[in-house]
């Protein structure tokens, strides 16, 4: 590309181009169940403003969203519901596990709580904290964008593996 803006051509791989586009158009689905849901609201509200990172269009339908933010406890009664929602999302899809409860069960090692949602669905980024501060979630979002650009997320790896097996 020339300096005056008139374009000639530039070279890139199609996959990189697609990933670049994908990482800037995340549609989060807030799966807020408990305390972390309030911090997720903080992140979306005016103080922290997740819109700055291109992920403000919150969609409550799994069909319309590609980033599942699991904010809060997922107990054994909720786990099949979470799995259903993940299955309903269209590929490629990403998952952020926000908070200690979702990531590992946290301080609730009891009969009713899943010990981490990675026993139910694949997770790309874990955010520690109980609940994490909004900065933590924003950092996770940036990390996820890097991972998408490099094609390292579960969903993209699954896609690649599928293509290779078909080839």
């Amino acid at each position: 590309m020339s300096k005056d803006g008139s374009s000639d051509f530039f070279t890139t791989r199609l996959e990189d181009m697609v990933n670049w586009a994908r990482k800037h158009s995340l549609f989060p689905l807030p799966f807020g169940t408990s305390c972390c849901g309030i911090e997720l609201m903080s992140t979306l509200a005016s103080g922290y403003d997740m819109a700055r990172f291109g992920a403000e269009v919150v969609r409550f339908s799994p069909r319309q969203s590609d980033l599942l933010i699991v904010a809060g406890i997922v107990n054994l009664k909720m786990a099949p519901v979470l799995r259903n929602i993940y299955d309903q999302m269209a590929d490629p899809k990403w998952v952020i596990s926000m908070g200690a409860c979702a990531s590992s069960g946290g301080i609730f090692n009891v009969y009713s709580v899943t010990q981490g949602i990675d026993t139910v669905i694949p997770v790309d980024v874990y955010v520690p904290g109980c609940p994490p501060a909004p900065e933590g979630l924003l950092n996770a979002l940036l990390r996820l964008k890097d991972m998408i650009a490099r094609g390292e997320t579960h969903s993209q790896r699954r896609e690649r593996a599928l293509k290779e097996s078909q080839a």
């Binding site: 054994l76 090692n109 009969y111």
Partner: protein, 186 residues
């Protein structure tokens, strides 16, 4: 030091404030239902904050109805149970309050392992979910309850988590969401 030590910033001395009302209620109950009370724990002699009356199960409904209608203890603050591990295993615990005078009273009913309890819904409709919770957590059944399902746990759950013999980490995994009984909508 224990609960009998009144602390001014923690509600102060309820003994001083309510003892007249409490003794009036208790003597009234003794006169009306001479056989209903098993034992009485008073704050003066026992480490309890409010009088705790042990009721016989057979008289429970009558006594509670009387307390609500005649004594003004019309507010069901709490309804729960505890696993005591005695010969009669469970205690059902009812906390009552009077909206006008704010006098509080605790009633307990001893229940054996497989005993049932008549439902309190005719007296307080709000007892409905409390009873479902007691059933869910302790496995105590209530006669005449219209909808005695599990409330917090999955309907397929086995065992009752708040019993002392249920392990803290007794996970039970289900791969499908909780089924809904279509009968509910009829």
């Amino acid at each position: 030091m224990n609960i009998q030590n009144p602390v001014p910033t923690l509600y102060g001395d309820w003994k001083e404030k309510f003892s007249l009302q409490w003794s009036a209620i208790i003597s009234d109950l003794k006169a009306k239902f001479p056989d209903a009370l098993e034992s009485i724990l008073l704050p003066e002699t026992h480490p309890v904050d409010i009088p705790t009356l042990f009721l016989k199960k057979e008289y429970a409904m009558e006594v509670l109805r009387h307390l609500k209608d005649a004594q003004g203890l019309g507010f069901l603050t709490d309804y729960t149970a505890s696993d005591e591990g005695e010969e009669k295993r469970f205690h059902l615990i009812v906390h009552l309050m009077s909206v006008e005078t704010k006098v509080r009273l605790r009633l307990k009913i001893r229940l054996g392992e497989n005993e049932t309890m008549p439902t309190l819904i005719p007296i307080w409709e709000g007892a409905n979910w409390a009873e479902r919770e007691i059933f869910d957590m302790f496995g105590i059944r209530f006669e005449g309850h219209p909808d005695l399902r599990r409330i917090l746990m999955d309907v397929r759950w086995e065992g009752h988590p708040l019993r002392k013999d249920y392990p803290l980490r007794g996970y039970q995994v289900f791969l499908t969401p909780e089924p809904i009984d279509p009968e509910l909508f009829k």
